[in-house]
């Protein structure tokens, strides 16, 4: 466990010492400051508007942060050659994958926490605090989505360079959030193999929209019942596990070529 935690700590230090997190925090702060100064003709509903826009911004910023952080971990080790002294130590490739994922997930999770605290503060200043239980549920499910995104980034970067992995990760996760949930609506108009293909795609891809409690938070709809909440959480754990297992399979026999290998 010590090597895994050590590798995760290195990812944390990277997040804290590079500018990505601070830039995104500044962006969100600027957005929140702008929202605080808003009072659209004295109309009601401004709090819901702040919550809606703020939560959307948090989802986008955390999405960018998680994927950027996770896709560069393994390719950077290879391009800088730090992978060789790392794997010359008594750690397995599985520990390396888990350590990197844990670091990305926990560091992006910390950033998510900071963003939620900022938004909750802004909403409270406008007199519209979040319902604590719903906020906690929304945050926990958001963390589950971050776990999936981090695992997806790590998986793609086992065989691709960081640019290609990032592009593909954005496309896949974007499709999982925006396109795949629309499939049931299309299915009613289709028959035959095309319908089966779409149905298979629908069940084979991660459903990131399940982890999004924004509407519940914005409209104060009350907490999600315990059972569906737990089922979604277990679904998130399962998808993360599958992605990490695939990452390990792709990485365990990978041959590294750098410099004068022959």
């Amino acid at each position: 466990m010590i090597p895994i935690l050590t590798l995760a700590r290195v990812v944390w230090l990277e997040l804290l010492r590079r500018k990505d997190f601070y830039v995104l925090l500044c962006l969100l702060t600027a957005l929140c400051a702008g929202l605080l100064s808003l009072d659209i003709f004295g109309l009601g509903g401004i709090v819901a508007f702040i919550k809606d826009l703020g939560l959307l911004a948090i989802w986008i910023l955390v999405w960018i942060l998680t994927l950027n952080l996770s896709v560069r971990q393994l390719p950077r080790e290879e391009s800088q050659g730090t992978i060789f002294p790392l794997l010359a130590k008594p750690i397995s490739r599985l520990e390396l994958i888990i350590g990197k994922w844990l670091g990305c997930w926990s560091a992006a999770g910390f950033a998510t926490f900071c963003f939620y605290v900022l938004l909750a503060g802004v909403a409270a200043l406008q007199g519209g605090a979040f319902t604590p239980l719903v906020l906690a549920q929304g945050f926990i499910l958001h963390l589950a989505a971050v776990a999936i995104l981090a695992a997806l980034g790590i998986l793609l970067s086992t065989r691709l360079n960081s640019d290609a992995a990032a592009t593909l990760a954005y496309l896949i996760s974007g499709a999982c959030t925006l396109v795949i949930p629309q499939i049931p609506g299309v299915l009613t108009t289709l028959v035959g193999p095309r319908r089966d293909l779409l149905l298979a795609l629908y069940f084979a891809t991660p459903h990131l929209e399940l982890f999004d409690l924004r509407r519940r938070l914005v409209h104060d709809w009350g907490p999600l019942p315990t059972q569906p909440f737990l089922i979604i959480l277990i679904y998130g754990v399962l998808i993360t596990f599958i992605l990490l297992a695939l990452a390990w399979l792709a990485y365990r026999r990978k041959r590294f070529v750098r410099g004068d290998i022959l």
Binding site: P3, T6, V10, G81, P85, L86, A88, P90, R255, L262
Partner: protein, 243 residues
Amino acid sequence: MTPAIEIDRLSVSFPSRSGPDIVALDNISFKVETGQVFGFLGPNGAGKTTTLHVLLGFLNASGGAARIFGCDVRASIARERIGFLPEHPDAYRFLTGWESLLVAGRLFRLPHPVLADRIETILALIGLPLDIARRSIATYSRGQRQRICLAQALINEPDLLILDEPTGGLDPLGRREVRTLIQNLKAAGKTVFFSSHELSEVELVCDHVALLARGRIVAQGAIRDLIPPDERLEQYFLRMVQS
């Protein structure tokens, strides 16, 4: 006594898209006994780094076996007694030198109190002042990065040190320090296995060598037994490689 390194009829080939497989190592065998300073020599493309990569478990052999202190190189226990410095060493640039050594030590599961003392000792050994070690590696010169990577390789007090071109990128003073370090390690009973193009360095520090050319061992043994009295290692090397 179990040899530090045992390579037995090792072969490595890579698939080629446009023809037969590329044979990087062809049935090579040699032993490095405990306490030896062993030079692994060969021209570019001879297969030195491939051999090191098999030894460290990065690459799987197509045939034969490689053992470190009697353990299969693919077992992580074999790597607990090894320190490794790659050919183009680099470290995480967002860490300080001290932190990078702390990370390396923790990957060997060394406890914090032991590590702090050991880091100070190693920094003194490689000649990196403490104030530089507290700075970010991003600010280091190439030589300082080489030193911090060497320090990482020594963090677990390895019984076997594997060095791939250890003096590349170092100034003459740095080279002399590495030479002295290798001699000190030998005096402490450690085994050092290093590949190098710097034949003068090899001649100064090694007691045994193996010469690799086109994936085959063309000569191996103690330097004093291999090289005729009227020849230098460089002449011998050129003669053997060209033949």
